[in-house]
Symmetry: C4
Subunit: 208 residues, 4 copies
């Protein structure tokens, strides 16, 4: 029963991806430190002092959440998956897996007087890398593996999806470039991108 | 097959939410420190000395567990989900993802002579934030997205579910206010709320 | 469609439990420390010196793995689950969630000259607590909720399952008592119990 | 309905394995440290200085990803699973669960002047142990449990799958032996193996 086999494969690809994305999004909280009660200063000051950790948590959580929505929309179209799709999907997951690190880096350096530009560039750069890997998988599916789609998509629809996907990379490249000016600008732009995609009907793929 | 598509979407929303909630609930244990064998004092004293960590673990585990039961009951009613529901669900998950942090804060400060009131307020406040996000999603589903329900619900049932949901926020607001008096009172009240909902037939939604 | 509703509930209970158990079993590795390259001594000595961490990892991994097999066999019998089953299941998961802590405690203290007996008692005691919670859920399902079983079980089969479940608690009580004599004996007995249940046809429930 | 029971068992085995593998692969990122902003030196130097952590992350992520693809192909063939398969699968998962530790060890020691050979041997050795456990499960399924296969496989196909599986162990043994010469060679060979299996049509089992 090859049809059922393929379904099993797709279901496990989704389950494994959901697992990795869910873990990466939940590990973000480990970056938010609890101030040591024995240190001087009031707790209020010290929690407020941690605002970059909360801001980076919020922006990264929203960004990973939106990539999850897009991932779901991308895989949903497939009737089955093959080896290349699984490997390219692993590449997407590897870039998502790095985000707790780049988020932690951003939170630690945004207010530093040294390294703050590089940290912000790596932060936006890690989102860009995730977007590139996602776009590569999307393109591979819609161009090379159209035979695996559950329903045939007209050329115009494919071009439109890929165009929107490519356009979605531009703001992250801009955010990485802005790091040279101000890490706060990078953080704010990444947050604005996430908010934009959270609004109804603006995800790269129409959700289900 | 739009019907099947919607089912896939709902199944992945549940799987992703289950993943995030399961990880958040299991990360709680990382807060319970193992005393260093090289430090002075008997292990019995030092483990007993960690009681706030165990108490906070128990209260937070029970609270997250109950929100999981309620989440399951809420999503179960839906025949399909749309973009807004996915985004609001991410907001619920983001508040759940913060709980290991607020639990750790509570455990570290409950016996401190400074910051203990704020820590307790943030602890109950994080439960309140989770409850508010949950109520917002519940309200959105039952008011704006009634067409997505698997079976139509009469107005009276919707009003009753939402009234119980809103009523469930009051004890957490009270627990946050009690933090000004005593962090122990906050912890005890949060524990009592969890126990109350663990009793049969008192969850916001009737379970399946 | 109440039948389908119940199926959804059971599927999510399994998915959530699988998630918590999978996370707890994988967090165990965080206890195995990597020696600092700047410290004196050869790596071989220091890795060998970590044998209690490896031993505790192995014993706890096997024990959690077997409780997962038993959990699966227990839930598989149910046609649907209700609120009380979900709450009792959360209690089982809370005891499983504590195991990374008790494993870490055991690994840190087994060779210590102080606290080693208590650590071993808490280690075996945490397995015993997990077993008790599991037995309580098993008993509740087979006694109070026989109507939820997929297929009716004869009284003799129920008595036999519960008898085997209760008998399975005895070795852990013994392992906890042995802690007063030697923490090594506790560790060895817990390992032997796991090995025994890993052999074919000795789990509390017959697997599928 | 024994057929459905078996299906449930297989689905939960897959879900649990997906969970453990997804967590192990995502925990790898915890090894990549964020440099302390208060330490001397530029961030660029210090991030570059962390290249072994990134290299080990990449190699281990790819290796775990490929074992996941192979695991999926192996279990997909089964119509149902029994107790021995579940226990042998736990053994595979226990070896996967150790990989964050051996990856961290490799990253910490690859440039050290002491312990670097042992660390590299343990790194390749942990992949070899995972491969051996996987091969043992594969062999048990295809030899002893042919009756559980969804479709009968001819002897020639079974011999071919097992021969390829055994052949896949050789490079890891070689990588472990190379550790005596150079830990960099071990890391490079492990990376090359992962790349080789990521290419289309070279996994031990044909993917779906």
């Amino acid at each position: 029963l090859p049809g059922e086999d393929h379904l099993v494969t797709k279901v496990r690809l989704e389950a494994f991806s959901d697992g990795v994305i869910a873990i990466a999004i939940t590990l973000l909280v480990l970056d938010i430190k609890v101030p040591d009660p024995r240190e001087p200063g009031t707790l209020a000051h010290r929690v407020a002092d941690h605002w970059p950790q909360f801001a980076a948590y919020g922006v990264s959580f929203a960004t990973i959440g939106i990539i999850w929505i897009n991932h779901h929309a991308m895989i949903r179209r497939l009737a089955s998956v093959d080896h290349t799709i699984m490997v390219l999907n692993l590449l997407v997951l590897a870039t998502i897996g790095l985000l707790p690190w780049s988020t932690s880096l951003m939170a630690a350096y945004v207010r530093s007087s040294s390294g703050e530009h590089l940290a912000a560039a790596l932060y936006a750069g890690s989102f860009l890398a995730m977007g590139l890997a996602f776009y590569g998988l999307q393109r591979h599916i819609l161009r090379a593996k159209r035979g695996l789609l559950e329903q045939p998509l007209p050329d115009a629809a494919i071009r439109s999806i890929l165009r929107r996907g490519a356009a979605g990379l531009v703001p992250y490249a801009l955010a990485a470039a802005l790091a040279a000016v101000s890490p706060y600008a990078t953080l704010a732009l990444c947050g604005a991108i996430a908010l934009f995609y959270a609004l109804p009907s603006t995800t790269a793929d129409e959700p289900g």
